[in-house]
Amino acid sequence: MELRLEKLTKVFTNKNGQETRAVDNLDITIESGTLVALLGPSGCGKSTTLFMIAGLVKPTGGKIFFGEDDVTKLAPEKRGIGLVFQNYALYPHMTVFKNILFPLENLDVPRDEAFARVKEMANLVGIGELLDRKPSQLSGGQQQRVAIARALVKKPRVLLLDEPLSNLDARLRLQMREEIKRIQRETGITTIFVTHDQEEAMSISDKMVVLDFGKEQQYAAPQSMYNQPGNLFVAKFLGNPPINAFEAEVKNKKLIINEKPFMTLNVPDGLYDVGMRPENFRVADDGFKTEIKDIFHIGRDTMIHFEFNGNNVRALVDSDTMKVNQKSVSLTIKPERVYIFDKQTGKVVNHG
């Protein structure tokens, strides 16, 4: 089922009358059966957006559509959503079986059907043999699975996940990431996934929404967002190590970095922000020569710190092309991998 947000806005007012726009005019359409990640730094309004979709937070303005139905004013239990919390929110005094059964109990599902559905769901998420345990007797990953089973058992139209992996250790996180992806594929349910971890978002989602201060920054598939960031914020937010960003001038279609021309670009003259991803640099004989300030060999890759016309820049290159304690190197970068951003709006400027 398609999910559509129209000019969704949430304004929090504190005691002094100060307003905080947690979510600001959000327009997003999420296609049926896709897994979309809401990504952003903490405090950007991603959880608020999720809770508005769930119905736990009332929006100040705008509308939420599930398919053709306007659900903006509908109570949470009538929307047909499944919600998984960061801390799983399992009822500690109930067994796993009763935890998963609880939503069905409220829907007055007949006993036999309810039991069958609980067992089916438990098997889907792989906790079929843990049904008579209490949540405190389960590991973090197992609790997570119970929470997902509980969210899915009432066959919701939308599955909402609020930072579901942040309480798990690194290895389990990788495993659960694949697990969530598999469950989503098998059930074909429209899923929204909130996270502040860009790697998690990129690996799991079909499409990502990047938010900052409640505003949508970009909505695209992960790889295309990475390769073609819409603005400086997205470029800076995505990528590890982070993008090298500095000021530069364009005069007569020449990119001039600290008064030294670097390459030809097809953009109007003026002052711009320039971004270059560390991993887009290549070692090549016909590139520019530079002194290496610092060099770190990290297995497959080698990180080079160097001064690029007065700016401190990092480059991530293949370890095979470098020698230990090399003093200087010659690097190139493809023109289409140099991102030019408007100084005022931060939007990307095409220079194809």
Binding site: F51, A54, E77
Partner: protein
């Protein structure tokens, strides 16, 4: 094999527990039967209290196979005393064993638990619970098999060699010590000296600590002992100041005192009144406390914090000050429950309704509710759970230990209440004394004879009746009680 033995022992223990429970029920039933049979010196309807001491009835009207039995006063007293002692021994044993049996795992069985099972078998034997004793002895051998792999026969055979072994060991040790002392190295001597001193100091310290503890325990226990002892004495025994008896043999424990107190002095009625008031007011308190604590902890409404601070502020006013306003509320100027002509007063309403809520418990429970994560509430909302259902299905089960604590503390409070029921029952018609609670009855019942003698033994018997239930509840649930007092301050 091991697992099977363990399961077998557990099964035996369960059967033993059933027989233990049967024994306890038998003790109670027999006690009640005999207690009912106790005869008092009657004069038409009322009891002649003066004759209690010299009254010596013959009991010969037992039913069934005991119809030939003839008992005098001393024998009757002895039998009842023995039954009570049996109950005091068997009931806690049953209670603790049920608790232990629930949590027992395969790792809990060791030589200590084996020995304790055997000791319990002996106790069973002494309390005439022969089936339980037999099962426990059998279970002891199952444990031995489980621990050492000995069958009963091998076990008995192994006893004498084991003792011999131990003796030989001790002999060897002694020899070693003697040999050791022959070496008169100055350094080793000084070490030996300091070790000796250390042991002496720690022994003396341990001794002093326990002496102190025993002393304190005695100071606390002796009044209770004296109370129970006095309550079963005859009048002349209880009032002899020159040469008081610190110990009485069981045939001189006059249980008839309790019967007089319960029937003639109406304490049965007062206990019934107290139980009614305590249960109903506790029931009301729990309902109001749970609902309002939930509202203050979870539901967002305007003025919540303000309302809550006002409620908290009322805790600062001493409770005695409310008496006047409460009294006006229930008297003719208010609801008019009391102060009416005979037969129109509603004493129970006036005693219960002002106490169906408690600010300190609301505060206590609200803090507990607040610790339950908010996300549980959100999850329940998404699952289509109403506020009330969430409270009943999620909050109350999670906070049930606290609610249990509140229940017990509140029952204690009602049991001990004095001023309010005293005021209420003394207003209006003479019937007020039919609604006395035990604390008022203790103060106001007439234990004085026409001759001017005060029947101290009866008075003390009444006090014992009031105190003992509380003591039992305290010992059973002291964990919860200490928990509640520790967390909510001393008020409550």
């Amino acid at each position: 094999m091991e697992k099977q033995l363990f399961l077998k022992s557990k099964k035996i223990e369960k059967i033993t527990l059933i027989f233990d429970a049967l024994a306890v029920i038998t003790y109670i039933a027999l006690f009640l039967f005999l207690f009912n049979h106790l005869q008092m010196p009657m004069d038409g309807q009322s009891v002649i209290l003066e004759d209690l001491e010299t009254f010596n009835p013959i009991y010969n009207d037992f039913p069934g196979i005991f119809s030939n039995l003839v008992l005098n006063r001393g024998q009757m007293n002895s039998i009842i005393s023995i039954l009570i002692i049996f109950f005091i021994v068997a009931f806690p044993m049953l209670f603790i064993n049920i608790k232990k049996n629930k949590t027992r795992t395969i790792y809990d069985i060791d030589s200590y638990s084996t020995a304790s099972t055997f000791v319990q078998a002996i106790i069973n034997l002494l309390t005439f619970n022969f089936v339980g004793a037999g099962l426990r002895v059998y279970n002891t051998f199952v444990y031995i098999k489980f621990l050492k792999g000995y069958s009963p026969k091998e076990f008995f055979k192994s006893i004498i060699p084991a003792i011999k072994n131990k003796r030989a060991e001790r002999k060897a040790k002694k020899l070693e010590i003697v040999e050791d002392e022959e070496v008169k190295d100055e350094y080793s001597l000084s070490i030996k000296k300091s070790i000796r001193r250390q042991t002496a100091v720690s022994t003396v310290r341990l001794l002093l600590t326990y002496l102190f503890l025993v002393l304190i325990a005695l100071i606390i226990i002796i009044p209770f002992y004296w109370m129970v002892l006095t309550s079963v004495k005859t009048f002349s025994e209880s009032s002899s100041t020159l040469n008081p008896q610190f110990f009485l043999w069981i045939d001189r424990w006059n249980w008839v005192n309790y019967k007089v107190v319960l029937t003639e002095q109406n304490f049965g009625l007062y206990i019934k009144n107290t139980v009614i008031v305590a249960l109903l007011s506790t029931f009301g308190t729990i309902i109001t406390t749970v609902l309002s604590a939930y509202a203050f902890a979870r539901i967002e409404f305007k003025g919540r914090e303000l309302l809550f601070s006002i409620l908290i502020m009322t805790m600062m006013i001493p409770g005695e000050l409310y008496i006047i306003t409460n009294f006006i509320t229930v008297s003719k100027n208010g609801f008019g429950w009391i102060g009416n002509p005979a037969g129109e007063n509603q004493y129970f309403l006036a005693m219960i309704l002002p106490f169906v809520t408690s600010i300190s418990y609301i505060f206590f429970l609200r803090q507990n509710f607040k610790q339950i994560p908010e996300s549980l509430y959100k999850a329940a909302r998404v699952d289509g759970c109403s506020d009330f259902k969430y409270l009943m299905r999620v909050m109350v089960p999670i906070a049930s230990p606290t609610i249990f604590t509140i229940t017990i503390l509140n029952i204690f409070g009602s049991w001990n209440a004095y001023i309010w029921p005293r005021i209420i029952t003394s207003v209006g018609d003479i019937n007020g004394s039919n609604y006395w609670l035990i604390s008022n009855a203790l103060r106001d019942t007439d234990f004085v004879l026409d001759t001017g003698r005060v029947m101290y033994n009866l008075q003390i018997a009444a006090s014992t009746l009031v105190t003992v239930p509380l003591l039992i509840v305290f010992f059973m649930f002291r964990k919860y009680i200490m928990n509640g007092i520790g967390r909510s301050g001393t008020k409550g």
